[in-house]
Subunit: 141 residues, 2 copies
DNA sequence: ACACTAACAACAATGCTTGTCAACAAGCAA
DNA sequence: TTGCTTGTTGACAAGCATTGTTGTTAGTGT
């Protein structure tokens, strides 16, 4: 994801307005590697802006997604995760106990559909989810 | 997934009761490769049993899942899919337009987390989703 | 400063899934 | 068979994440 100033320019170019709410969300997302839920962004934004609404956070996240500045991930945890890392092609490690998400770079080759199963189908995107437990949660079993 | 008679035995062994509703669902799932939603199972079951409730279908699907007879997949389509194919280790091809799901056998090697990213983490399961479009939907673009 | 209109907060509504509970029926033993 | 025990059913309400609605506010280009 680009920086706040760059995003400001991009938003204006698209006819989108840059509000204090949106700037707050830009700042929260910049460099965040935690893959936060929208709700958690909302909670953190509310610390500074008590009147910001959840809808506004959703709205801004979707706008960022439409501009390719974030990716919205559904890892099957019930709520969606926002990933500002769109620069590196990567997959995800998910702790099914605490819900923490970690990036995994794409280092394995050969991840594609065998040709005979590709028949009648065009693949646009591959999502890989490694599910398991981080050591912190593993110890507490 | 095992056959209806085998499932009947297994359910009774577990202290679960085998009702006409459950047998109807067993029959619907047997050999179904469409990865149906619970709602679609419900609709089909209702054809024969007009009074069956959606809750009952969810209940039975979850019981089957607990016994390892089906897998419940969340492919990010809004509702969950039921997969009676637990015999073959496989991944999925999803058409993001029509929602159709197809199996893809695991033929690629090397699908694992690079060692240095595996640190502090134990991987239990890998889910791969290939998203794209089937030819039928591709033509209508 | 002005006018135009996107974005805001508040609130209601949606869609999928689960909780509650009284009536029911499957399974088992006598 | 018969009756008892207990899991299951169906109807309805509730939960949770996300989106729709709406009158009002405020960002933007002029
Ligand atoms: Mn990521
Ligand atoms: Mn499958
Ligand atoms: Zn954990
Ligand atoms: Zn399709």
């Amino acid at each position: 994801m680009k920086g706040t100033e760059a995003l400001t320019t991009i938003f204006r170019e698209q006819g989108l307005r840059v509000t204090p709410q949106r700037q707050a969300i830009f700042r929260l997302l910049e460099g965040d590697v935690s893959h936060p839920t929208v709700e958690s962004l909302f909670d953190r934004a509310r610390a500074d802006m008590p009147t910001i609404s959840l809808k506004t956070v959703y709205q801004t996240v979707h706008d960022l997604e439409a501009l390719g500045e974030v990716r919205v991930l559904d890892l099957g945890t019930g709520s969606v995760r926002v990933d500002p890392n769109v620069e590196d092609d990567h997959h995800h490690l998910l702790c099914t106990t605490c819900g923490r998400v970690r990036d995994v770079p794409v280092e394995f080759d050969g991840l594609n559909v065998p040709i005979r199963y590709r028949r009648d189908f065009t693949v646009d995107d591959v999502q890989v989810i490694f599910r398991g437990h981080c050591d912190h949660c593993f110890d507490r079993t």
